[in-house]
C-alpha cells in the first residue's frame, strides 16, 4: 500500500517518480523520515543517502545535497545530482575519490579549493559506500 508520492528531479532528468510507503532523507540537521500524511515541510538536504520503501523492499539513492519539499502526501527532492544505487558509476566515483584525496594532501591555502575537494571527497565516499552495501 504505497501512498506517498516520491519525486526526485535533477537539472538533467526526472530520476524517480513513484509511489512509496516511506522515505528517509539526509536533512542538514540529520536524517528524517517521511510517511504518508506528513505535515508540509521544506528543508535543505546534505550529501548522503536517501532511501525509500515499497512493500518492505528498500531502495537507496545517492543525493548530492539539495532541497526537499513535503506537501499533500508528496515529497519532491530537488538535487543537483541523484543516482539510484544500481546506476552508480563505480569507476568514476573511485577516480573522483583519488582525485579529491590528492587535492587534499598538500594543505591548500585557498579555502575555496579546499572546501570543494572536501565536498568531492564526501560525495565519492558516499557513492562508493552505497555500491559496496549491495
Amino acid at each position: 500500500m504505497a501512498l506517498l508520492h516520491l519525486e526526485i528531479v535533477t537539472p538533467d532528468q526526472i530520476v524517480l517518480d513513484t509511489y512509496v510507503d516511506y522515505v528517509g532523507a539526509p536533512g542538514v540537521d540529520g536524517e528524517f523520515g517521511v510517511l504518508a500524511g506528513h505535515i508540509p515541510l521544506l528543508t535543505a538536504l546534505q550529501i548522503g543517502l536517501l532511501y525509500y520503501r515499497i512493500d518492505g523492499k528498500e531502495t537507496q539513492v545517492f543525493i548530492s545535497g539539495g532541497f526537499a519539499e513535503v506537501a499533500e502526501n508528496k515529497i519532491s527532492i530537488l538535487a543537483q545530482s541523484a543516482e539510484i544505487a544500481d546506476n552508480i558509476d563505480v569507476k568514476r566515483a573511485e577516480a573522483a575519490l583519488k582525485r579529491a584525496e590528492e587535492r587534499l594532501l598538500p594543505l591548500h591555502k585557498n579555502e575555496v579549493d579546499h572546501m570543494r575537494a572536501e565536498l568531492a571527497l564526501k560525495r565519492a565516499i558516499v557513492r562508493l559506500g552505497l555500491t559496496k552495501r549491495i
Binding site: V9, P11, V28, P40, L41, L42, A44, F67, E69
Partner: protein, 290 residues
Amino acid sequence: MPSLKDVKLQIAGVGKTKQITKAMGMVASSGLRGAQMRIDRFRPYAKKFSSMLSDLAARTEDASHPLLQVHEKKQNVIIILITSDRGLCGGFNINLITRALKLAKEKEQEGKEVQFLCVGRKGRDAVKKTSYVLFDSMTDIMGRLNFQFAVQLGNTVSHAYENNTADEVYLVYSEFVSMSRQIATASLLLPVEPSTEEAGSSQIEYIYEPNVAVLLAELLPRYINVEIYRGLLDTHASENAARMFAMNNATNNCDEMMSSLTLLYNKTRQASITNDLMDIVGGANALQSQ
C-alpha cells in the same frame, strides 16, 4: 555565352555546396532534438525551484539576503551574453548581439559602466570590437553543455554582486519559442525579483528546516545557476533551430541554382551543336557549289 566546361564545373560546385548544407541541416536538426529533450527534462526542476523561491521570499519581510538586496547606487552593470561559437545560422547571433548592445547603450546613457561576460565565440568577438569591457568569456561549451558551466558562471556573477563590483546583472539569451521563432531576450538576473504570480501556492503552511533565512541563502545562489542554465539550454536549442532553418534555405537555393545552371548548360550545348551543324552544312554547300 559561357563555355560548356565552365558551366559544368559550376554545376558540380553548387552540388558540392548543397551536400554540405544538407549535411549541416541534418546535424542541426538532430542537435535540436537533443536540445529540446534537455529543455523538457530541465523544466520540472526549474519550475519547482522558482515556486519554492517565491514561496520563501514571500515569507521574509525584508530583503535579508545580499542577492535580494537592491543596491542603492547602480553603477556597474554586467551583461551576460550567450551566443553560439559558429556562424552559418542566419541572423541568430546578430540578433542577440544587437539586443545586448542596445541594452548596453541604454545603460551607458544612464551613466552606468557596462561590462560583458560572453559565452560563445561570436558574441565575444563582437564585444571585442566595441569599447565595452570584456569581463570574462567562455567559448566552446555549447556542444557539451552541462549544469557545471551554469554553476561556474552563476558563482562568478553572484560573487561580483556580493562584493559590490556589480550592481545589476542581465542575461541576454535567445528564447526558444518554436522551430521557426526564437526571440533575443534580455532579462534581469540580479537583484533577484521573485515572481509574485505563483503566490497562490504559498497557501500551505510549511515547517522550515533549519529556518527561512538559511534556506533562502542556500536556494538563491542555486536559483541564479538554474536561470543561467535555462538561458544556455534555450540558446542552444535556438541556435540549432536557426541553423536548421538557414541550412534548409541554403539547400533549396542550391536546388534552384542547379536547375537554372542545368538549363544554361543545355542551352549552351544546343547552341554549340547548332554552330557545328551550321559549319558542316556551310562546308558541304561550299563543296557542292564548286
